[in-house]
Symmetry: C2
Subunit: 216 residues, 2 copies
Amino acid sequence: MVDDDKPTPDEADATAARGYHHGDLRRQLVVWTLKLAEERGLDEVSVRDVAKAAGVSPGAPFRHFPTRVALLAAVAEQGMDALAAQLEAALVAAARENPLRRYRAMAVAYFTWGIRNPIYFQTFASRAVVDYAGPSLRERHEQAVGAMADEMKAALRLGLVRRGIAERYAIAGRALAYGIARLYIDGHYATLGLDENMAVREGEAVLDQFIESISR
Amino acid sequence: MVDDDKPTPDEADATAARGYHHGDLRRQLVVWTLKLAEERGLDEVSVRDVAKAAGVSPGAPFRHFPTRVALLAAVAEQGMDALAAQLEAALVAAARENPLRRYRAMAVAYFTWGIRNPIYFQTFASRAVVDYAGPSLRERHEQAVGAMADEMKAALRLGLVRRGIAERYAIAGRALAYGIARLYIDGHYATLGLDENMAVREGEAVLDQFIESISR
DNA sequence: ACCTGAACACCGTTCAAGT
DNA sequence: ACCTGAACACCGTTCAAGT
């Protein structure tokens, strides 16, 4: 980078513009990673690109993240926060309904979020990232989908669904929600000409029929 | 797995040792890509590694594949061959059963193959690879899963499943099979302590309960 | 304390030169 | 026709030096 004019680092604004982020760089890097990934795909974003976008030197990110995958893990953690919030909100909104309806609300929230936030979804569906992030990320995800499974089990207990093994309803419900999200993200709906919103509606319709089919 | 050693390398020893593969290099590169990916993960295999494993210079692969992703696309095409063969075999084996049983046979074949061949599965679930490979790969996959969907629709027509919209049963069945495979490949079963074989059996159990639940 | 910028080893890809 | 091996631009990562 060719730089003739000196940045006069005694002004706060000027320093920030020149790359000093006074403790905020870490967050900025995550923000830019997400933004660039949304533009060109996760694989296409390099740490150097992120550094440049944030206005810092190529080595700067490594003061905050030991490796590139650590940076992606930070994105994943942030995504997990957002997903957990959505699921929690869905659960609260359906609080006074029956377990099967609560399962539905969470499953819809799950794949809707995945379809609308494919980058987040990819980061914490990536083995390398999740392995790096350590057990906490996986546990949080497990807990989130576990809540879905719990509703399914409750539905069986209350006789809302046909006879069967609770754990299998739970996994089926989970695989279905996951499958719907992943079918879209992996581009399988593209052949069908479905955009984001249509994919969500289609997902809901499929889920509803599934629920109705297992109901009794 | 799906490949055997190449037939009778009679006089090829000298040239092969020198790196000359007399037209066979293309195939060797695909074989080595798969092998290295199984050892260390798809992201960790570079074209240079593959070249070295095949005993040729770093630039040699680019005479056969214009880009790295083209090499991966060749792996994906080979994977698609294998998957199509498995599904076809499953369909033939269940030829004299009812459509619901045929759907089951194909769904099991689908996720079993995915669980047992995660590298193949990843290659043709990758957007970049599939986009490069062109419409034919996607169409073949679409046709393969379309056969599953057809059985589901036939099952509805014959009154084997509860009332509903055929297309939604088809998508649910597909999302379920896809979700089961992907849950394992993305490492979600690892938390549950399930290995490959247990994942397949668990998948079958879940699928069977799903089928029973929608049956009438 | 936080960032720069030069360095290193690596990678995808190209291409003139060899057989 | 097929491969070599030296390039080039890029990338992840490190680190001494600056503020």
